[in-house]
Amino acid sequence: MTQFSKHQDTLKKYFEKFDLSQFKLPTLPDWFWPPFQAFLFSRMVVWLAGYFGEIMIKAGWEKDFYHLSPDNIFLDILARWDSGFYINIVEEGYMLVYGRISNVAFFPLYPMLTSLVDVLFNNPLLSGVIVSHISFLIALIYLFRLTTLLCDEDTAKRTIFYISVFPTSLFFSAVYTESLFLCVSVAAVYYAHKRNWELATIFTLLAGVTRITGLLVFGVVGLEWMRSHGWTLLTCYKKEAWQNLWQGIKKDWYSLLFILLAPLGLLSHMAFLGDQFQDPMAFWSVQSAFNRHNLGFLGILMRDFVPILSQNFWTGGIWWNVLLDTSAAIFALAAAPFVLRRFGEGFAIYILLSVLVPLSSGTGSMTRYILVLFPLFMLMGVWGQRESVHRFFQTFFPIFLGIFTAVFVNWIFLA
C-alpha cells in the first residue's frame, strides 16, 4: 500500500463519518419569505426611481431645500419635507415655538428609535432610514400573518404586495413614521386576533406614541376584545350580546384591565411635554401653525374637490395633488362598508375615523394617510382574487410608485 493509498483511506473514512445528507441550512419560517420578497422588490423600485428621478430631473429649486446627505443620493432622497422635523428632533430634541411650525407636533417613538440606532451610526438620516426599513419589513410580516389568519395565504401575499408597491409606499422607506406606525398597529391588531392581549396592549401603547391616530388602534383592540366575548356593534341591540360581554368582563377582566393601560404611553408623552414645556397638549397647540383648520369633512370636500370638477383636465391645469388626496379619501370611505362586511366593524371604524379626522381639516396628505390603513389593503387582497383586478394592481401600482418617488425626491409636495 502506497503512502498515497493510505491517505485515500483516511479521507474516505473521514467522509464516511461526515454525512452530508444530515447537513441542513437553517430555514426561515414560511411567513418570512413572501414579506421579504415584497419588501425587496418594492424597495428596489423606490430606490431606483428615487435615484434616477433625482439625477435625471432637475427641477431647479432643489437648492432651495435641505439636503441631509448630498454625498449619498440613495440616502438623501429619503429625507424630504417632514423628514427634517424628525431629524431635527433626533439632533436637538423637541422644540416648541407657539404660532410657528414646531417639531413638538410630531410624536416621539420614531425619533426615539432613530436616536437609539443613531448611537451606533452617528448619522441620523441613516439611522432613520434603517428604522423605517426594519419597521416596514416587520410590518409586512405581521400583515402577512394577520391576513393569513383572517383570510388565507394567497390573499395575504397579495395584500403585502399591494401595500408594498402602493404608489405612496415610498413613505415606508423615507424618514417618516408610516412604516413604524404600520408595524405597531398591525402587530397590535394581530395579537388582538391571536388573543394575546398583553402584547396587543404593548403595541397599542407604542402606536399611541407613534402618531396621534394611534389612539384609534386602542379602539380597534378594544372592540376586538369585546367581539371576542360576544359583543359587537352590529349585535349590541341584543340582550345576549350584553350578557356575553358581562360574562367576558367577569371571566377575562385581567385582559381588559391590561388593555386599558395602553393609553399610558400617550399620557407619558403628555407628562413629558408638560414637564418640559408646561403644555401637555403642545402637540395639539401647534397644529394651527400647520395651517390645518377644522371645517368639517363635508366642508373640506366642497372646498377642495368641487373646484376640481371645473378645472381643465385636457390642459393639465388641475390641482393634481388635491385630486389624488380627495380620490384617496373617497376611495377609503367608499371601501369602509366592504371592510365592515368582510372584516367587521372594528376595521371599518378604524378606516372611517382615520380618514374623517384629518379630512375635517383638509385633504392634504390623504394619499399618505391611507397608506397605513391596512384593512384597505387586506380588502384589496381579497379583491385581487380576480385576475383582472390583480393584474391592474400589479401593473399600475409599481408604475405610479416609481413616478411618485421621482416626484417626491424632487421636492414636489406629494403628501
Partner: protein, 948 residues
Amino acid sequence: MIKQDDQQDRSSLLTWREKLLALRVLIPSWEEVKSNPALQTRAKKLGLFLLVLIVFNIGLYIFLGPTWFEPTYEGYYTDEFVNFNEKDWFEIDGDWKVSNGMLVQNSYVDINPAIMLSLHALPEDTVEFSADLSIGDGGDAGGIRFNMWSPEQIARSHQVMIMRIGDQAFLTGGYYANSVDFVPQFKLPLAGPFEENSSGSIKVVADQESYDVYLNKKLVVLDVPTIYPPGWHGLSAIGNTVAFDSIEIDIDGADRETSRGLADRLFGNDDAESFVEKMAQIPNEGLDLIIPADGDPESIGWIPFNGIWTERNGSLIQSMWQQVDARAAYEVPYPSYRLEVDLWHPQTPGGGGVIFGMPSTDSLSNAYLMRFSDGGEGFFIGQYDSNGQFEGMAFEPLPAVGQEVQTLSVINDGTTFEVTLNDKPIFGQLPHSGADSHFGLVSNQTEVVFDRIFIEPFDAPKRVELQPVGTESEQESEDSPSESSDSAAVADSTVAETNASTDDTQASTIPISPELENITQEPVFQSTFLGTLGETKWVPFRGDWSIEEGALIQSNKNGFDFAIGYNEPYENFVLRSTFSHTDGQGGGVLFGMTRPDSRNLAHVVRYDSGQNAILYGYFDENSQFSAQGGEAVAPPLNNLHQLDIVKNSDTYDIYVDGLKLIGDIPLIAKGAYIGLTTSTSVVRFETVELFPLGSSDGQPAAAEAPPATATPTVEPPATPTAEPVEPEPVQAEESAEAESPTATPQPSEEAETVETTDEETSESTEPESEPAAAESGSFDQAVPISGSWIPENGEISQVANDMVDQVLSLNQFGTEYSFEVDLTMVDDPETENVGAGVVFNTPTADSKNEGQIVRFLNGGSEIIWGYFDENGRFNGQGGSGVGLEPGSRQTLTLVVRATTFDIIVNDNTVAADLSLRSTEGGYVNLITFRGPVTFHETRFSETEPTDS
C-alpha cells in the same frame, strides 16, 4: 319588601367593597404566582409592559429632551450699543441694526419685530429691566419684553410698551399667551399728544408674582400680576425707526420691598387669575362689583355704587381702573359740614375727587362733582342735573399732580358749597338746596388711594373721624404741597370776599385794580380797525380774520388757537382788548410773542372754550401749550368784556372787566409782539390798546421804545446802512482780540466788536433809522427754528440730541459784517459727533435754506463749510482739521464781505476769501448738530464794504 331590597343592595355593596378592599383579586400572593403557571405568564407580560413603559419614558428624556439655550449672561447686563455683539442676541422678527450707538429696528414689514438677549433669569429671581428708547416717525410702539419663556418666540412673555394710537401716546402692558395673542393688562394714556422722535425710559421690576412699571423713572403701574415667571429678556417694536439707546438688566439686584408694600395695599394677594377676571369685568354692573379683600367699606359707612372699593391699612382704595367715575357715598347725610380728603394717584396723574350735594347715596341728581382731570393737568367742577347728566362748570389748570398727596375740602355752610384744593380756595358760592345731603368719593378710570377722610360739622369745631387712619401718612405733612402762611391768609380773605359777594360765579375774583386805575396816559398804540386787514400791520396766521364795521372779527369757530399778531414790537405795557363772543367762547390775547406771525414762545390769556374760566399760559417753541393756571369767571355770553394784561419785565397780571383776576404770573415768553386769539368761537374784537406801564409797579414808564433798540433785529433795514456804528467804548480785552495778528484781512477799524449788556441796550434809545449794527450779547430775540433751545444766564443751549441740524434764528441781518460766536460743545462719548456753527446769508430769518454754513464737526476736531440748497440739503465746499478740545469754549469768527468770507477759529484763520453763493447778504443763524451745545455770546458788527 322594601327592607328586603335594602338589605340586598347593602349586601351587594358590601360584597364589592370587600372585593375592592381585599385587592387579592388583583394582586395574588407570591405563593399563588409560584404555583400557578398562568399567573407567572401574566406577571411576565405585565413586567414586559412596565419595562416598555419605563424605557419609553427614559428614552423621552434621554433622546428627545429639548436643547435649551445656554444663556451668555446671568446676573447683570448693560448695553449702550457701542460695542454690540450680535451673537448675544436672537432676532425673532424685524431688521435690527446698531447705528450711532443705538439699536434700531428698521423693518416696516414685520408685524411685531423683537430681538432677544441671551440673558436668563430663574423663576424665583427678581428682575429689574430698563430701556431708554425713542420712537421715530415710522414707529408706532417700542418697549421691552420680559419674563419670556423662550428667547426664540413671542408666546409666553410679558411686554410693556410706549405706543402711539392716533395722536395719543399710551403706556401698555400685558402678555402673549400660548396662542401668541396679546392679552392686555393695562393701558394708560400719557399726558400730551404723541410726538415723533419722542423718547422715554421704561423700567420694569418683575418677579414671579407681579411687576411694577416705571416711566421716565416714575412709578406709574403697580403690582400687575405676572402670568409667566422671570426668564429671558428682549426688546420689541412696532414699526420702524424705533431706537433703543441703552438697556440695563439687573437680576436679583432689584428691591421690590418698597413698592411691594404699596402694591399690597392696591391688589393684596390677588393672584393672576383673579386679576385677569377683574380685567375682564365690564363696568356698570353696580353693587355686585364690590369685593373688599381685607375690610368691608360698608362696615365703616361707605356705600359703593360702582368700582372696586376696599379698605386696607387705613386707606380706602378704588382699584378698578376701568371704571368711569367709580364712586362710593357715605351713608350718613349732613346738613352742613367741612369735609377733608387726602388722596393720591398711584398710576395716573389724575382722576380722583369727591362728589357732594347728593340727595341720596345712589342718586347724583343736582350733585356736584369735582375731581382731577384724567391727565392731571387741571381740576374741574360741574353739576349733575335732575336727570343725572353732568355739565361742566369750571376748570382750574394745575401743574401735574403726579403721585403727590392732594387735599380736597368741601365746606358746606348749609346754603352754599366752597371748595379748596390744598387749602387754596378754587371754587365757591356753589348753590345748595339746604337739605341734608350725602357726599362721596370718585375715581375715574384709575386707582385712587384715599388716605384720610374726615368730616366736621360746620358749626362745631371738633372733627368727626369717619375713617381712622391706621398709620399717619408721612406724605400728609411732608409731601402735601401746602401753601405758605401768606397764601393761606390770602385764601382766607378770598373766602371772606366770596362769602360776601352776591355774584355766585366769580367768588374767587378780587375786585382791586390799582394798576389799571393808574393808567392815565394816552395809549402808545390804539387799533382803529378801519379799511382792510392788508392795510394794517395785523398779521393773521391762523383762522379767518377780517375787519368789519370797525372791529376785527375771527369768524371760524371750528378750531383752537386761531391767532393774529401785530407787526410792531413793544416792551412793558398794559395791553387792553375789548371783545365779545358772537358764537361760543374762547377769545383772548397773545403777548410776549417772539414773532408776530407765530404763536411759538408766546403767552396766551383767553376764555376757556369748555369751562367758565380764563386760561393763561404760554406756547413753547414747539407750539405746545403749557398752562400756568386758570381762574373761574362768569360765562362771557355775548357781552362785551375787557381783558387787561399788565406785562412787566418778569411777570404779568390779568384783569377781567376791570377786576384783577390774578397777578404776578411768571413771564416766560419775553418777545415784544402782541396778538389776539380765539378758540372754537366767533369773536368780535372792538379795541386793542397798549398803555405805557405806570410807575406803580416800579417799572419805567413808557418803556415801549421804538423798535430799533428794544428789538433791534426783527426786520432787516430796508437798505443796509453804510453809516458807521456809533462807537461805544471798547473794552481793552476785546480790542486786543480784535487786533490780534491774523493772516487774513481784518475787519475795518469801524468794525470793532461792541459788547453791551441788557441794561445798556434798554437804556439806549437809538432812532429807528439807525443801522442794526448791533451788538448782541444775549439771546433775548433769538427764535428757535428747530431743536430744544434753553436760555439761561444770558446764554443759550441746544440740548436735543437728535442727529439732525437744529437752528436758532438770531433775527440778525447783514451784508458785510463780522460775526463772532463763543460756544462750547459737549464732551461726551455718546455725542462725539456733535457739531455747532453758523448759518449765514440766509434769505429768511427762520430757515437755513440757501444759506452758507460753517460749523465744527465731531466736537471740534474739524470744521467744514458749504451751503444749503433751497431744499435744505447740505453741499460741502471744504473742510479743515482744527483739533479743538471737546468741552472747551471756542470762538468762531466769520468775516463776511460782499462776495467772500473768512473763517477764523480762536484767532487762527482756517480759511480766507471763500466765495459766497449770494451777494445779497442775509440773516445770521446759529446751528448745531446734535447737542448739547452752549452758545455763550455772539458779537455782530457791520463793516465797511471792502471787497465789492
